[in-house]
Symmetry: C2
Subunit: 463 residues, 2 copies
């Protein structure tokens, strides 16, 4: 029996082999593979498995393993770092067949969803019961809850509500050997290493996440919005630090450089200024108290109150995700690169990376904003655009921008990825991130759990 | 050359082989091994290595590995689950030689300490610069910062400030192969699995933590203290849930059952009542706002304001740690067992475990308090005492109490350890905690990183 025969006999109509199905699931939204698709040279997988239960995922994994077939776990495909990319002999195992609410416990504030549930559907479902997940990635309308875990995602409300690792209560996953792992559903444990953390950020290389349970929050009262603009990024960074360090935690804290402020908020903020927008939420009375305190801190830090329309504009457009192909057709390549570092290095990181990208020939824009703040530092989320001479230059210009940014970032001591993950685009710099010993640990864990390297080969783990 | 010759030549006076040195570091404060010491039948290790630098730790590890000698990493020995227990052929690698501040960055709010630094010394040091670590285990005066990481510790202020995994910024460790791992010092990363999490809770079985960097908080303004007493634990649990779920986060939230309330707070709380004590801290204005809101919620939940002396009493005695030998001499065996579960099961867990322990012959007390609260649940921290007929019964009575508690806890779906770790005393129940697939992952990781099982054999990983 061939692999496809065996899969068909196991999965029936949960196996797709038509071209359309394979083409639409052969990649994520990494610009490089979108470019390949645009150029009609995308490689398709052998088949798409879309098992509807965890047990069927496990059987699919065991079958692929028996045939030595590479497996590519895939959620909704909104990842942007090349975490999903088919090879001709591979089977894409999609979580699309496992979606929807599995249980909701209003006393403990827990909701379990099949991994393929779309983020926005999960959020809307818990809202019916008066809860919020509190995780708002820009991709919420096009990403799955399993993908959030697999990529160790961040949401726009992270400054108060944490990143995905702070919101996930328990996970269920099929491991590379076909066994089913379910983490103990408890609020906290000291029972050895937290094994969930091997799945958070595993990018499909250590297993397939099949179910995610979130620790919910009650829907808060309507929040308070405000915005301030600053002379430059360094001043804005100091002001945001001045808000966070004493313990204020607005769910949304975003600081845009002058270029992005102009691009997004030109109707609301004077030219050349850097805008910081805040959303305050919390238990009764907290948001009002915090808003007043933050306003005082921003003014003391050189900020001037900005038109509230800036915040409203962001809220209206915050889930908009661009399509790379639209840009290709205009002769442009672009991407985003998010990294993080301590407060003391943040202004230098901003300058170093934007300068480094700007120095790449054909680059026409390199800007940034900070969207996630922590006690000891924050992220910077860079956007670049370039206008190569023609499609034959797209890849080299794109790669040159990434190399420039990563070298500048690691040169400042920054981490190489704040929240998009590693995939293929950042793999070269994993030794900078983890050190030789850390790469050794990652390789050892991968080899121990997936000795034949069949689970999403090519991502995350450096060669 | 024998192992001891080689070690002496490497370490000089950083190797101790005298009986006193070996006896005082042959164990942690697990009641069972303290009992063995009291009975003068404690096994001593071959030697105590006390390397003063990370590089020397690495050389010590490589040397022990070359000789096939078991290594037992040890901090200050305040662990209470049998995580440190010598065998005659083993080398205890103590972190005592690596203590003190290594760096302090006031801008990022980061402080790095040698792993052997005592907790209270680290806290006092950062206070000189206006910071707090915010981690207050009861053992703070007798535990080391490396031990906090190795045991995945919790502190008394965890409800607002998090547990050790929320406070640690980066770690340095010597891995079982003698390589030195340093996690990238960034505020957050999506760069594969968070490898620090393999060391958090590793209990010496996956490496030796040599340095810990904390993300600090500025010292808060003096907080607001208050206490309320409730009719029973179920009512108190509901009230605490009513405080936590809307988003209030007092650093200290402790609810004692009637037995412990009587034992500790008899001068301040009416007999038969369960007291809840709160400490509120935060940025300016927050503590006052929270205190008023929490008082209203507690009263609405059936609470009556308690004498503030109860809170003061707790603050005065909160770092007192009993000595088991004092109890042995009085004919008593005792221990504490902390577990955690969701809000909805907490009252049942309280009753099940206290009933199960109370049913063990010779038991004279089984009480509990809850000391760490989360959005979706909380811990319970049980204390038992028994009066066996004589020392020959100490061990069997002790074991029977643990078995009764663990069976009752797992029967309620609780996690088997909230913060003390696994060590030897809980190893039997690791399959309940992790499931078969989880045990498989833990074993695979252990085998991958420590193929000869030389690093603290006998703890954590089930046989």
């Amino acid at each position: 029996m061939t692999l496809l025969d065996d899969l068909a006999s196991l999965l029936g109509d949960e196996l797709l082999i038509d071209d359309d199905a394979r083409r639409s699931r052969a990649r994520d939204t990494w610009p490089r593979s979108e470019f390949d698709q645009w150029q009609a040279r995308l490689v398709l997988p052998a088949a798409i498995a879309m098992p509807s239960t965890t047990e069927r995922v496990a059987e699919t994994v065991r079958l692929c393993r028996a045939h030595g077939a590479p497996m590519i776990p895939r959620g909704a495909g909104s990842g942007c770092v090349g975490g999903v990319l088919a090879s001709p002999d591979s089977v894409v195992i999609s979580t699309e067949g496992m979606s929807g609410l599995r249980s909701l416990d209003p006393v403990d504030g827990l909701a379990s969803f099949g991994a393929g549930t779309m983020g926005i559907d999960a959020e809307n479902r818990v809202r019916q019961d008066g809860f919020t997940i509190g995780h708002w990635p820009q991709s919420i309308e096009i990403s799955s809850v399993g993908g959030w875990v697999a990529t160790r995602a961040s949401g726009q409300y992270s400054t108060a509500y944490g990143n995905i690792e702070d919101i996930v209560y328990s996970v269920e996953a099929v491991l590379p050997d076909g066994s089913i792992y379910r983490s103990r559903p408890t609020p906290r444990a000291s029972a050895g290493p937290d094994l969930r953390q091997l799945l958070l950020g595993s990018e499909g290389a250590l297993g397939i996440i099949t179910e995610v349970t979130f620790s919910l929050r009650p829907l808060p009262e309507p929040g308070v919005r405000q915005a301030f603009h600053f002379e430059d990024m360094a001043t804005g960074i100091d002001a945001v630090r001045g808000v966070i360090v004493p313990g204020w935690l607005p769910p949304v804290v975003r600081l845009y450089d002058a270029g992005e402020t102009r691009r997004h908020f030109r109707d609301h903020v004077p030219k050349g200024r850097c805008v910081a927008i805040f959303l305050h939420e919390g238990p009764p009375g907290h948001a009002a108290l915090e808003a007043v305190a933050v306003a005082e801190l921003c003014r003391a830090g050189g900020g001037e109150q900005a038109d509230l329309g800036a915040v409203d504009h962001w809220f209206e457009h915050r889930n908009t995700v661009p399509t790379w192909t639209e840009l290709f057709e205009q002769g442009l390549v672009a991407d985003t690169i998010e990294v993080a570092t301590g407060w003391g290095q943040l202004a230098r990181l901003y300058t170093s990376v934007t300068d480094a990208i700007s120095a790449v020939p054909k680059v026409i824009a390199a800007t940034a904003h900070s969207s996630h703040a922590y006690r000891s530092g924050a992220n910077l989320y860079f956007t670049f655009a370039a206008q190569p001479s023609g499609p034959e230059e797209y890849q080299s210009v794109y790669d040159a921008c990434w190399t420039a940014a990563m070298q500048a970032a690691t040169g400042c001591g920054a981490g190489i990825s704040h929240h998009h993950g590693i995939g293929r685009v950042r793999r070269t710099w994993m030794a900078d991130e983890l050190g030789d010993a850390g790469v050794g640990v990652l390789r050892a864990v991968k080899a121990a759990l997936d000795p034949d390297n069949l689970m999403n080969p090519g991502v995350l783990v450096p060669d």
